[in-house]
């Protein structure tokens, strides 16, 4: 059994003055892994807590399936939640922590035991049932919190930065595990994080939130290839998209980026951008490639080199911006060196500097055979 969540014009205001969330319109599909990502203070946790019923909804309508839930108390929303701090009852054993909610919901004893053991088995907690939370490691506590959500068999599961207190290695494991559990139970998952890697690797769809407004909703790969605005461009992807302001040089059919880098641009592109006075371009690190004969070659000054073994990350000075490139394999590059690289206008995404919106996406956003043309979406 799965359920979808619908929000219409959801607003959250404190003291009638501070607006935390503004006009949120969103549908979270049944059975999907939906990630809400954004910097701290963007309102993502508040929105999650509004779904849970822990925060009042100032305005707008929130539904689960077709039922309006604006004023339903949390317990009647039939959902489970995993907190950043795990919120384990410190004086109860793992067993009692897992069973606490079932007892409150008066699930019969046999069923309780059955679910407890199944869940503990699946999550790998069977040996720890009689321990208290303080006798567990961080990862084990995290598992108890997960078990508590699973055992409730609620069709919707909310998670608020559940992995942020774990170390990097454990985090990577838990990402896979949470994903597996979500698929196995067909849960509708709403997952809040500030970590775009988590968002990219886990989400069926991602919503990027900033300053209480939705920036973009879509599949991870679409957000990566076709960021709707400069905020999403710089927030999604690691390293972030390289950004530069453009001066048009119509005569020589070149765009001069950051007053330094002159890139050839074909007529049709110039034509399509002719109404936009101020343009910013963005290019992903993997599109600044090692020089190849027959391609457009530019020379950039190397500012820093990080050799990671399987790839080499190079930072360049481009005007007042710092651009990064990622080259596969190991390269012997010196800091201060003037390095020739390939940069092609086809890899540029164009943004309107004034509205920050995407005007024209790069070729990677387009399917094979598509004619490059203005693609603008909100």
């Amino acid at each position: 059994m799965t359920e979808k969540i619908t929000m219409n014009n959801i607003v959250k205001r404190y003291d009638k003055e501070v607006t935390v969330l503004d006009d949120i319109d969103l549908t979270i599909n049944e059975g999907e892994f939906f990630v809400m990502v954004g910097p701290s203070g963007s309102g993502k946790s508040t929105l999650l807590r509004m779904i849970a019923g822990l925060e009042d909804i100032t305005d707008g309508v929130m539904k689960i399936d077709d039922n309006v839930i604006n004023h339903l108390p949390p317990k009647k929303r039939n959902l489970s939640m995993v907190f950043q701090s795990y919120a384990l009852y410190p004086h109860m054993t793992v067993r009692d922590n897992i069973l606490f909610g079932l007892k409150a919901r008066k699930v019969n004893k046999e069923e309780q035991q059955k679910r407890l053991h199944e869940t503990a088995e699946m999550i790998g907690l069977s040996d720890y049932l009689d321990r208290k939370p303080r006798q567990l490691s961080g990862g084990q506590r995290q598992r108890v919190a997960l078990a508590r959500a699973i055992v409730s068999q609620a069709p919707i599961c909310l998670m608020d930065e559940p992995l942020s207190n774990l170390d990097a290695k454990l985090r990577a494991n838990m990402r896979i595990e949470i994903r597996r559990l979500q698929r196995q139970f067909g849960l509708t998952m709403v997952y809040v994080t500030h970590d775009q890697v988590e968002a990219m690797t886990m989400g069926d769809r991602i919503m990027v939130l900033d300053s209480g407004k939705i920036q973009q909703v879509g599949r991870p790969i679409d957000l990566y290839n076709e960021p709707a605005n400069l905020f999403v461009a710089s927030f999604i992807g690691s390293p972030k998209m390289n950004i530069g302001t453009v001066q048009k040089d119509i005569g020589s059919k070149k765009f001069i980026i950051e007053g330094e880098l002159a890139v050839d641009v074909p007529d049709r592109v110039i034509e399509s951008l002719k109404d936009i006075p101020n343009i910013t371009v963005g290019i992903r690190a993997e599109h600044i490639t090692p020089p190849e004969e027959g391609k457009e070659i530019h020379t950039l000054e190397v500012m820093n080199v990080e050799n990671l073994g399987n790839e080499t990350s190079i930072a360049f000075d481009v005007g007042k911006e710092i651009w990064t490139a990622k080259w596969p394999g190991q390269w012997d590059i010196k800091v201060g060196e003037a390095l020739p690289v390939n940069i092609s206008h086809e890899d540029f995404a164009y943004f309107d500097s004034d509205t920050t919106q995407l005007i024209r996406s790069s070729r990677s956003a387009l399917k094979e055979g598509d004619e490059i043309d203005a693609v603008q979406q909100k």
């Binding site: 009042d56 309508v61 309006v68 604006n70 004023h71």
Partner: protein, 308 residues
């Protein structure tokens, strides 16, 4: 569509109000036991005391004659009450600074990291576990004119015996000594707690800078301890105004009303002389004194005290 939207808003408003009312009722339910008992045994008596202070009463305390401010005027002109008033303030003056200084000294001593310091802490704090009645009896023996330890000790160094509890010059001092001793335990315990919560890195830093013992004491310990000292000051003053048991057992207000401190005076007026009206007037005075003391202290000390 538009109308259904506004209908929905109406429903939401109603539900919001309902939730708010429910929350209010729930909150009050949790507070109700306390509110009822506070009303019955604190607020109502305060008002009743004020009311009674304008009346004369019969032996059972039922108001009979309205006398307006007469009870207060009587107090103002009564030599006995004036004496009680002065004794009370003298008593507060004797015991509050002394108690705190002694307890602070002991707390600083007992805060040193030494072997076996726990035993000393226990001994210092022991007076907190000794009731007014028992403590008074201990001191009754110490003050005993013929065989008490204090006079014996004075005898050894060649000083004449003192009639601690019977000599008008000494009785208030004797009561003060007893009270200071009784105060030590609680005051010590609180101050030690305050000392232990001071961040040790402050001292380590001072050590690196080569600060001496007394510099550390006056530049770190005392300022960092000031919130605790402030709390102890308020509590000790308020307790001093409420002193009763030791007087009831040791001096019964005498000799010559020297130790007739205000609570004892209220007690005697009300429950021995059955003068509930005038006694209530005294109680109102006590209440006002304590109120002023607390307010003044908070206003005064708020600015000077260093809070972490």
């Amino acid at each position: 569509m538009q109308s259904s939207r506004s209908e929905l808003q109406d429903v939401f408003m109603k539900q919001k109000r309902k939730t708010r009312r429910k929350n209010f009722i729930k909150g009050i339910m949790f507070l109700l036991p306390s509110i009822i008992l506070f009303s019955l045994f604190l607020f109502y008596p305060m008002i009743k005391t004020l009311y009674l202070s304008f009346f004369l009463t019969d032996m059972a305390g039922t108001p009979t004659v309205f006398v307006g401010l007469d009870n207060y005027i009587q107090l103002y002109t009564s030599d006995i009450f004036r004496k009680s008033f002065i004794s009370t303030f003298l008593f507060v003056l004797y015991i509050v600074p002394t108690s705190i200084i002694i307890a602070l000294f002991l707390a600083v001593l007992a805060n040193e990291k030494l072997k076996g310091v726990g035993l000393f802490r226990t001994m210092y704090s022991s007076t907190m576990g000794i009731s007014v009645a028992a403590g008074s009896i201990f001191w009754m023996y110490l003050f005993n004119p013929s065989m008490g330890l204090l006079n014996e000790a004075l005898g050894v160094i060649g000083i004449d015996s003192i009639g601690w509890l019977t000599d008008p010059d000494w009785a208030l001092i004797a009561i003060s000594l007893t009270t200071i001793w009784m105060n030590i335990g609680f005051t010590f315990l609180i101050l030690l707690g305050g000392l232990q919560s001071i961040d040790q890195s402050l001292y380590e830093n001072a050590n690196i800078e080569g600060a001496g013992y007394f510099r550390k004491l006056f530049q770190i310990t005392v300022p960092m301890l000031s919130p605790t000292l402030f709390f102890v000051l308020v509590v000790t003053i308020i307790n001093a105004f409420q002193t009763f048991g030791q007087i009831d057992i040791l001096t019964k207000g005498g000799p010559q009303y020297e130790t007739n401190l205000i609570v004892y005076s209220i007690y005697r007026e009300a429950f021995v002389n059955r003068q509930f009206g005038p006694a209530s007037a005294q109680a109102v005075v006590l209440f006002v004194i304590i109120l002023i003391m607390t307010v003044v202290q908070f206003k005064f000390a708020e600015r000077k005290v260093h809070y972490q």
